[in-house]
C-alpha cells in the first residue's frame, strides 16, 4: 500500500462523493420560474434517452 495508492484511492472516493452530493443538491434546487419553457421541449424529450435529465422527471410528474 504505497503512499500514492492511498492518495489515489482517497481522491477517487472523494470524486464519487462529489458526484453523489452534487447530484442530490442539483435535484433539490428549484428551477427559477422557467417551468413554462419546459413544456415546449416535451416532444424532444421522447426521442432523447438521457435519463439524468431533470426536465424529464418534471415531465413525467
Amino acid at each position: 500500500m504505497t503512499k500514492e495508492l492511498i492518495i489515489a484511492i482517497v481522491a477517487i472516493g472523494l470524486l464519487i462523493a462529489v458526484f453523489f452530493v452534487s447530484y442530490i443538491l442539483n435535484k433539490k434546487t428549484p428551477i427559477p420560474k422557467e417551468c413554462e419553457e419546459l413544456k415546449i421541449d416535451a416532444s424532444k424529450c421522447a426521442a432523447c434517452q438521457n435519463m439524468a435529465c431533470t426536465l424529464r422527471k418534471k415531465e413525467e410528474k
Binding site: 458526484f19 453523489f20 447530484y23 442530490i24 435535484k27 426521442a47 434517452q49 438521457n50 435519463m51 439524468a52
Partner: protein
C-alpha cells in the same frame, strides 16, 4: 404457460422491432466509427453486448437496494466499472481489437443504449428478464453494426478480409470486386451515407406498411357505413 411467449418477446424485440440502432436511433457514434471493417464491427458488438448484459444483470440484482434518489449516479458507476473490465480484458486478450477500436471502447460508458436500458428496464424487472433484454439488445446492435460494416467493407474494398483483427483466425482476404471498389465507403463520409440510406430504406417499408393499414382501415369504414345505410333503408 404465458410466461414463455413473454420471455421470447423480451429476447427478440431487441433484434428487429426495437433495434437500438435502426429503430431507436441510439448509439450512433460507435456505429459510424467502428464499421470500417467487418471484424471491427463484430468485436465492438461483442464488447458492447458484454457490458450491456453485465450491467443489466447487476443493476437488476441491486434494484431493491439502491435508493431511488441516487439511481442514476449508481448506474453510471456500475456501467463504468464494466467498461473498465472490458477495456482491460480486450487490451490483454485482443490487442489488435483494442488498438483498432481505441477510445470507442471507453465510450461505451456514455452510450445511450446502456444507460437507457438500465433505467427503463433493468431497474424495474427481474434478473431473468433483464438478462434476456440485454442479450436481445446486444444481438440487435451487433446485427446492425454487422450490416453496416458488411456494406461498407464490400463496397469500399471490394470484398472481405478476415484475420487482421482477430488474429486467431487465418488471414483470408477475399476481394473479388477490388477493381470496382469505391473508397468513399471506408471514409467517414461513407459511414453517414450508408446509415442514411439504410434508414431511408427502413422508413420506406414502414411508410408502405402504414399506408397499407390506412387503406385497409378506410375500406373497413366504408363497408360498415354501407351496411349501416342498407340497414336504415330496410
Amino acid at each position: 404457460m404465458e410466461n414463455k411467449p413473454r420471455k421470447l418477446y423480451e429476447l427478440t424485440k431487441g433484434i428487429i422491432k426495437e433495434n437500438p440502432l435502426f429503430v431507436l436511433l441510439l448509439g450512433t457514434c460507435p456505429s459510424l466509427a467502428t464499421t470500417t471493417s467487418l471484424e471491427g464491427a463484430i468485436g465492438m458488438g461483442f464488447l458492447f453486448a458484454f457490458v450491456l448484459i453485465g450491467s443489466n444483470v447487476v443493476i437488476s440484482l441491486l434494484r431493491k437496494i439502491i435508493p431511488s434518489q441516487i439511481k442514476i449516479p449508481c448506474y453510471i458507476v456500475i456501467i463504468a466499472t464494466f467498461v473498465t473490465i472490458v477495456k482491460m480484458l480486450s487490451e490483454a486478450f485482443l490487442p489488435e481489437l483494442y488498438s483498432t477500436l481505441g477510445v470507442f471502447i471507453s465510450l461505451i460508458v456514455v452510450n445511450c443504449i446502456v444507460l437507457g436500458r438500465a433505467e427503463a428496464f433493468a431497474s424495474k424487472n427481474s434478473v431473468g428478464a433483464s438478462l434476456l433484454d440485454g442479450i436481445g439488445m446486444g444481438i440487435g446492435y451487433t446485427l446492425a453494426l454487422v450490416i453496416m460494416a458488411f456494406v461498407r467493407e464490400v463496397l469500399g474494398t471490394g470484398g472481405l478480409t478476415f484475420g487482421e483483427i482477430f488474429t486467431f483466425l487465418p488471414y483470408v482476404s477475399f476481394t473479388p470486386l477490388e477493381k470496382f471498389a469505391m473508397s468513399i465507403f471506408t471514409m467517414p463520409a461513407g459511414a453517414f451515407l450508408v446509415l442514411g440510406v439504410i434508414l431511408a430504406i427502413l422508413a420506406y417499408h414502414a411508410n408502405k406498411k402504414a399506408n397499407l393499414e390506412r387503406v385497409k382501415a378506410k375500406i373497413e369504414k366504408e363497408k360498415l357505413a354501407k351496411l349501416a345505410s342498407e340497414a336504415k333503408e330496410a
